[in-house]
């Protein structure tokens, strides 16, 4: 026993950080230990792909939704960026407001025409705007999402207005040398060369790009001032309306309030969902508990959802559950435990008692709605 003179040790050994960022420990060094915080994150700057002198262009046209591009639109951008040669620039023509950066989405140049929002129906203006852009840019290809928020329609109008150009719709697969889609009622897979206009089905490209792009803002004038150019329109849009969330399928819902076993009072959750006009979902645990029907279960073993907003209340975020919400754009978590896996997935996390926060939120929402009504 050498107890009478014990060493009191900090078990962390002294080190220095080299210029290369590598940690070095010098054996035999007598320097005092360096106190440090565990550095887990290192910068993940991706290389820039944007060509300095673009010779050709790929034009990507898509509508934004409430200021952002949905995954489908970003897949089109990604497809363009992946297929673009070194001297080809990807130009994004965004119809409707844009409040996000597109450099990680692969856009080298970005032109936003805010007034051509998809909420309004103005196909003639949109078409003339895109045509103007095509005239100026003379792109090698045009990629558009084949969707129902206007791009599928606009794309077909564009194809019709360029009868001399090759085009394909419902494209489910593309790469440098070919495109593919299903034909004859889904009974045949058809292949062709990459045409001028390509309307892409969802999930054709992986949006995870190993490079970034400069996403330079282009001069608005490029696409011609749209407003003055359009002759009397054949269409009058009368505005949008929304169907109650309770009436649409969970997979299609845009706003989901979802409960885990941290939710003790299902009624509060239902009230909150009603206040937000959201569909109701649940984790496997909550379903097993009998609090919700099996068809409400979200996750790898339940339904895969793609809501813009996913409100995870009292859900710890088991990997299976996270799998089911990977396509959700905004995840907001309320959880008692700040180290829960859901907190790492969520865009916003509130740590605290679910029931209390739900009650408070219901009150805040009611107030906000009243204020909005009064203002209106």
């Amino acid at each position: 026993m050498i107890e009478n003179n014990p060493r009191r040790i900090n078990p962390r050994r002294a080190y220095e950080i080299l210029a290369s960022g590598v940690k070095r420990i010098v054996l035999g060094a007598t320097t005092d230990f360096v106190a440090h915080e565990v550095a887990l994150q290192h910068s993940t700057n991706k290389p820039l792909r944007t060509p300095k002198q673009a010779k050709t262009h790929i034009l990507v046209v898509a509508h934004s939704d409430r200021g952002t591009l949905d995954d489908h639109a970003k897949q089109c951008l990604a497809a363009a960026a992946i297929l673009a040669e070194a001297n080809t620039a990807v130009v994004a023509l965004i119809l409707g407001e844009l409040h996000e950066e597109l450099s990680n989405a692969g856009a080298d140049e970005v032109l936003v025409i805010a007034e051509l929002d998809y909420a309004k129906f103005q196909p003639e203006s949109e078409l003339s705007c895109v045509k103007a852009m095509v005239d100026v840019l003379q792109p090698s290809h045009i990629f558009m999402p084949d969707n129902l928020i206007g791009d599928g329609d606009l794309g077909r109008r564009l194809i019709t207005s360029h009868p001399e150009k090759l085009a394909a719709t419902h494209v489910i697969e593309l790469n440098v040398d070919h495109i593919a889609n299903y034909q004859s009622g889904g009974s045949a897979l058809a292949l062709a060369n990459l045409p001028f206009i390509v309307l892409l089905a969802p999930e054709t490209a992986d949006t995870n790009l190993p490079f970034s792009a400069s996403a330079l803002t282009l001069d608005q004038a490029l696409a011609h001032p749209v407003k003055d150019k359009v002759q009397p329109s054949n269409y009058i849009g009368l505005g949008m309306q929304t169907i109650a969330a309770a009436k649409i399928a969970l997979e299609e819902a845009d706003f989901i309030v979802s409960a885990g076993n941290g939710v003790s009072n299902v009624q509060t959750l239902q009230t909150l969902a009603a206040a937000l006009d959201a569909a109701v979902g649940a984790s496997r645990v909550a379903v097993d508990d009998g609090k919700f029907a099996r068809d409400k279960q979200i996750g790898a073993t339940g339904k895969t959802v793609s809501a813009s907003t996913y409100f995870a209340i009292g859900i710890s975020g088991a990997v299976q559950h996270l799998q089911g919400i990977k396509d959700c754009r905004h995840v907001i978590a309320i959880n008692r435990d700040h180290s829960a896996a859901i907190v790492k997935r969520a865009n916003l996390s509130l740590i605290g008692d679910a029931e209390e926060i739900m009650q408070a939120l219901i009150a805040v929402i009611t107030e906000a709605k009243l204020a909005t009504q009064e203002a209106a």
Binding site: F121, H170, Y182, T204, Q241, D254, K344, N347, Q359, I365
Partner: protein
């Protein structure tokens, strides 16, 4: 708004499992909307003589013997005009030629044969100079033209007034009840239109050359080539953790609720 001639374009469908010839549901919806609209117009204009009544012309471009046409008869078409297609003639020219004086053309959103590109109505509208509106759930004739209810995803709908003449593409979710009655099938007639001489399509290059494969497979997603290290590849497959966004720990429940509201407003996820 007076409207005299309505046409519904119907195509030959096939059952996805059995491959049996059948009606294309999308087109049947369009035809049904046409039938209902025609009935409504004729019911309102009581003073119109029989000859002056609005009629729905159901048209098919293809083979008059196609078994699929029986379905359209059973679903209420009293008469189907078939334009025979030959290798030389262009379907759009043929249809346009027949439909010049039509006020309203209804059709489904996507066929179940051929290329199924959904382009035919667009090309037709362009050729005829008609207005066009897609993804339509309901139509209503009003003095200013045609009022349509358009489908948008995520539970959204939009109303639009369209100038006639117009091409209307009906959405598959249109709330129409299709009624298949054998007696109507027996009573209905299919007749072949006199084919007009069309000039052969010269610019064959103008359409994509498709190669069809009958063995179906799932599409392959386009991915960027990455030079990730082996360990990084392993991590991307095995680590599901994200960095996470803002975390609010302090404050009372009301403050936290307000943070949520602010977030929802900032990202335009709510409209209050």
């Amino acid at each position: 708004m007076s409207i005299k001639k309505i046409a519904a374009l119907v195509s030959a469908g096939r059952h996805p499992v059995s491959g049996e010839a059948r009606h294309c549901r999308n087109d049947s919806l369009a035809m049904s909307i046409g039938l209902t609209l025609t009935k409504k117009i004729n019911a309102i204009s009581t003073n119109a003589s029989i000859t002056n009544q609005t009629s729905l012309r159901v048209m098919h471009a293809g083979n008059p013997d196609n078994a699929a046409l029986k379905d359209y008869l059973a679903l209420g078409a009293k008469h189907i005009d078939v334009i025979a297609l030959t290798a030389e003639c262009n379907i759009i020219d043929s249809l346009a030629n027949e439909l010049t004086n039509t006020d309203l053309i209804l059709t489904g959103s996507r066929a179940e044969n051929g290329q199924d590109s959904g382009l035919v109505p667009y090309l037709l509208a362009e050729k005829l100079g008609f207005s066009l509106v897609a993804n339509v759930l309901e139509v209503k004739l009003i003095p200013e033209g045609l009022e349509v209810l358009q489908f948008l995803p995520k539970g959204k709908r939009r109303s639009i007034i369209v100038q006639l003449p117009a091409v209307v593409i009906v959405h598959p979710l249109a709330p129409v009840e299709l009624r298949h009655a054998y007696a109507q099938q027996v009573m209905g007639k299919v007749s072949q239109q006199q084919s007009l001489p069309f000039k052969p399509v010269t610019d064959q290059d103008n359409s994509l050359q498709w190669q069809k494969q009958s063995t179906l497979r799932k599409p392959i997603k386009l991915k960027a080539r990455e030079n990730k290290s082996g360990h990084a590849r392993m991590l991307s497959a095995t680590v599901s953790e994200n960095k996470g966004g803002a975390v609010v720990i302090d404050g009372d429940s009301v403050e936290k609720a307000q943070v949520i509201l602010r977030y929802l407003r900032e990202h335009r996820l709510i409209n209050f």
